[in-house]
């Protein structure tokens, strides 16, 4: 069928079954926006900043399991997508970014709004294409979606010069992908599964260390099966949060820098550590050489390059996790039937640790509500409901991890690897677009909020209502905490104030509802109302600025050298 290149882009998106894209128009992408105006079945959500559009596409992808699509113009539009692309790269989020480029005749001439975006993004994409000929569009789009979602998920970029969008082309969407070099593993080796099953089933102190790869692989049911068949304790990373029901008796928290002590004790004293779609990130391991000493490591991952990258794997299992975990559950089941002992004593020991070293924070008699207590209220109010939580990055994120219990897959969306402040609000909007029936809550900090709050306009006008629970301590809280702990209390440029801006009025200005809460007694009613309204709401909760996030493994320290909640802080409060 004859059409313009721009129409070919949209027909490709439609052929891929894309229902929503997030973007902002500009010069070099105008032909494609003109094609949208002529008609497409793909909903376009107009963001206020390309970074917002990118994070929305990420939120959409993370909530739905489908590929997120972001679209922007050349130059600054494209460079504003760099942060979401880097974020998607670190957190393995499937993302197709489409950028306009200056006309092919102008490429390389430093033309207006020209930027070599394929060059800029090369280290942070799985692959990218600069489309020189409109006849390439269909094949490139097909390949882009295929690469983004197969193997280890991640971002790809398609850069299309304006004249290529305008040129006429005979469009036919291909059935097959032409990528001779792209061969992600499709099968797991049965011998590897057998070895893994034997190691795990016969372990005295096994731990399943579950990362975000499990969610990407849609392998949560299989994970549950493995855990229940073998009665293995499950510890989910920040990225793996929601891959396993967190009220389940076999779930034992989250590992790493701000993980509870019982989880880190379990991870670091286990005899068989089963990493499932996890990558031994430094925030999980602490000092790598001191991490889980002596443990036999079984590492299941779709990405062979993660095997033995940081910690040597004794038993590597490379392949799709859904298949691997299903096979593992079967093998473990056989071994259990044959009498391999269930690690009940070990499960009891971790549970005892949990009783002995619970998450703690100061009493509730301070001047302001404690942020942890606010999280507990939110947890109580949302338990059992269809709620998706997104977060920014910092103390509030860690508190959300500790106190919000995620029950269903893809209901906790956060920036893990890159640690992108400002991720929360746009990611929540994207999640809402993917799952309109769910209530989407963004737990945000006041620092993060101000990095992307312009997207409240998008939420209000695109009818994508989100509830922002602002943990407002008036500080760049995590930096404040580090300056307090590691820089002798020299607070350097961390005070934002709780009152500027007036967050509630800002929410109103953006067409939402604003609430300011300064008393503990107001917290629950405000949250209850916000969750019921069905509108975009900002609940600005002024919390105790002195409250810090514990336990904590200082950067570079051994995981077992964690700092617990100081008794002094507890007594003071």
């Amino acid at each position: 069928m004859k059409m313009r290149g721009a129409d070919a882009v949209l027909r490709s998106l439609e052929a891929e079954g894309v229902d929503t894209m997030f973007g902002i128009p500009g010069g070099a992408i105008m032909p494609t926006y003109d094609a949208m105006a002529r008609g497409t079945s793909v909903r376009h959500v107009l963001a206020r900043h390309e970074q917002g559009a990118g994070h929305m596409a990420q939120g959409y992808a993370r909530a739905s399991g489908r590929v997120g699509v972001a679209i922007a113009t050349s130059g600054p539009g494209a460079t504003n997508l760099v942060t979401p692309i880097a974020d998607a790269w670190m957190d393995s989020t499937p993302l197709v970014c489409i950028t306009g480029q200056v006309r092919t005749s102008l490429i390389g001439t430093d033309a207006f709004q020209e930027c070599d975006i394929t060059g800029v993004t090369m280290p942070i994409v799985k692959h990218s294409w600069l489309v020189h000929d409109p006849r390439e569009i269909a094949g490139v789009m097909k390949a882009a979606f295929h690469v983004a979602r197969t193997g280890r998920c991640g971002p790809v970029l398609v850069d299309i010069p304006r004249d290529v969008q305008e040129a006429e082309v005979d469009f036919a969407y291909p059935d097959k992908v032409e990528l001779p070099g792209w061969k992600p593993p499709r099968k797991v080796h049965p011998l590897q599964i057998k070895q893994a099953a034997e190691a795990i089933a016969n372990a005295e102190k096994p731990v399943l260390y579950v990362g975000g790869g499990t969610l990407n692989a849609d392998a949560c049911a299989e994970l549950l099966e493995v855990a229940e068949t073998g009665r293995f304790p499950v510890i989910t990373t920040l990225m793996g949060k929601s891959a396993f029901p967190e009220t389940h008796e076999l779930h034992f928290g989250w590992p790493g820098m701000h993980g509870p002590k019982w989880a880190n004790l379990a991870m670091n004293t286990c005899d068989v550590l089963v990493a499932i779609g996890a990558r031994f990130d430094d925030r999980v391991t602490g000092k790598l050489t001191a991490f889980a000493p002596g443990a036999t490591v079984v590492h299941l991952d779709i990405d062979a390059a993660e095997i033995s990258k940081l910690r040597d794997a004794d038993i590597p299992v490379v392949g799709p996790l859904k298949q691997a975990l299903a096979a593992l559950a079967k093998e473990v089941g056989k071994l259990r039937e044959a009498g391999a002992p269930v690690p009940e004593a070990w499960l009891r020991r971790i549970a005892d640790w949990r009783d002995e070293f619970p998450l703690r924070y100061g009493g509730r008699s301070g001047d302001w509500p404690k942020p942890q207590w606010v999280m507990e209220q939110l947890q109580e109010l949302t338990a059992g409901e269809d709620v998706i939580v997104s977060t920014g990055v910092g103390q509030h994120q860690m508190w959300a991890m500790q106190y919000i219990l995620s029950e269903r897959p893809r209901t906790f969306i956060t920036s893990g690897g890159l640690g992108t402040m400002g991720f929360g609000i746009p990611a929540a909007i994207g999640a809402k677009a993917a799952r309109p029936e769910a209530t989407v809550v963004c737990v945000d900090g006041d620092g993060c909020f101000q990095m992307t709050c312009q997207e409240l306009a998008t939420a209000a006008l695109e009818n994508l209502p989100i509830v922002v629970v602002l943990v407002n301590n008036g500080y760049l809280g995590m930096v404040y905490q580090w300056q307090d702990m590691f820089f002798e209390g020299r607070y350097s440029h961390v005070h934002l104030t709780k009152s500027v801006p007036d967050y509630a009025r800002l929410a109103e200005a953006y067409g939402g509802v604003g609430m300011t809460v300064t008393e503990e007694s107001e917290v629950r009613p405000a949250l209850e109302e916000a969750l019921q309204l069905g509108r975009t709401v900002v609940v600005d909760v002024h919390v105790d600025p002195k409250e810090q996030c514990f336990p904590m493994i200082p950067a570079g320290a051994a995981a077992l050298d964690m700092i617990e909640y100081p008794e002094a802080m507890e007594a003071e409060a």
Partner: protein
Amino acid sequence: MKHTISVTVEDRPGALTRITTMFARRGFNIDSLAVGPTERPGVSCITLRVDCAQHTLEQIEKQIHKLVNTLRVTELVPGEAVERELMLIKVSATPDRRAELIATATAFSGRVVDLGADTVVFELTGTPEELDAFHELCRPQGIVELVRTGRIGISRASAKRTTRRLAAIN
């Protein structure tokens, strides 16, 4: 330890850049690099010489393998592969010293490709070690300029399976 990695890639824009930026961002070092066409149209071969531990070598191979344009990654195992390099070297040589230099070059199967008033340009092909040796012999004469291509390699005709492919990725 030094290793030679042979990578076949689709001949696409950026295929080489993707490999070299991956090396840069992951902190791997490249000793030498040679790129050229192969027997298959549209397929290029990139020969990389790296100096690293076995663990790093495996990481390098796996990371290269993940790149979309990469078709095949192999290590050329010493003794089971032939490796060659080309060197052009311009040496100071007054007419009275030329005969000796040319004789030395001939011993290395080198040849004179240009002669000037007080310099000679030699072309040498050989194993990188042979080129090193000739380079050392020329040093006392005064080396004006030297360029090398970086090594390329191919598995020996006699060997059935001369290259080691990584179990985890292939």
